[in-house]
Symmetry: C2
Subunit: 154 residues, 2 copies
DNA sequence: CTTGACCTTACACCTTGCTATAAGGTATAG
DNA sequence: CTATACCTTATAGCAAGGTGTAAGGTCAAG
């Protein structure tokens, strides 16, 4: 199977497959005499594994670690569980953060609607925004969202 | 006031201030004879506005639009409200997405714990992951998380 | 007159996971 | 023989919001 066929079966682009190879997730594949990459069913499964792990929120780095453990003859399931549990905690934290943010934004919007910006003081840029945090009941913790990250599900 | 003093008062780096200038959020400042940027209280307020808007989830592009409206003599508050309402909807969608993801991850973890990977079939990479989506009760919608992104609160 | 804190510019780099493009070689159908 | 679909490599670029570094100029204190 050549790269385009593999990519089609998984539902990704051929470039993405080459990208995984360069990223160290796939071994150097065999080649036809003319240099085309040739993949076996095992490689197909490996790529499928990569996509599944990605959908579960694993980063390519983590997936690479897992695959290298596997290649070294180890069973990486303990690591997989640990990473998944960390992702769960991070997701919880991110949901909490987003909920706090949502509440704050919603409350600002409510105040803006009750007190429209007819009372624009001449030297404000947008008085709505300017009075919002001057109220200062909302102290965003230092670095609250430092590690926040989309979890990469495509 | 020079750039370092301005940055210190806002709590950002001097590079960030120059970055805002290059991004078109700040006007070309006055300069000392030796070329140092000199800022007035009005510029300080403008930078403070930028940070406040950013904390409310506005992107630098949006903030730039708002500031340009202001510079053109308009009152950008209607746009600000519209953007804020869009952010609210996006935040809601992102929270929903994360909750679905969390439920899925949590359920996978539960299954993994109940049925540990002692039954490792020889040709799997990590059987935990491999059996998870083969169950296939979980169809991630196409492009569900296309626009998902941390909302830039620092 | 030197040290050190501050300022200047320009450019590269970071994160992640790819996508796009250029410039070319290969395989197959008609 | 040619059209076209596929493959190769290398390189650049995106999103977003900056940070880091190099190489140098300026200013006050001691």
């Amino acid at each position: 199977m050549k790269i385009g066929e593999l990519a089609r079966q998984i539902g990704i682009s051929a470039q993405a497959v080459r990208f995984y190879e360069r990223a160290g997730l796939l071994h150097e594949p065999e080649r036809t005499p003319s240099g085309y990459r040739v993949y076996s069913a095992a490689e197909l499964k490996r790529v499928r594994f990569i996509r599944k792990a990605k959908e579960l929120g694993f980063s390519l780095t983590e997936i690479g670690d897992i695959l290298r453990m596997h290649d070294a003859g180890q069973v990486p399931c303990a690591q997989v569980m640990a990473i998944a549990e960390r992702h769960l905690r991070e997701t919880d934290a991110e949901i909490k953060r987003l909920r706090r943010f949502r509440a704050e934004l919603s409350s600002a919007l409510g105040r803006w609607k009750r007190t429209p910006a007819r009372a624009v003081t001449g030297n404000a840029i947008c008085e709505l925004i300017e009075r919002t945090i001057d109220d200062n009941h909302w102290k965003p913790g230092r670095g609250a969202a430092k590690h926040a990250r989309g979890n990469g599900r495509a």
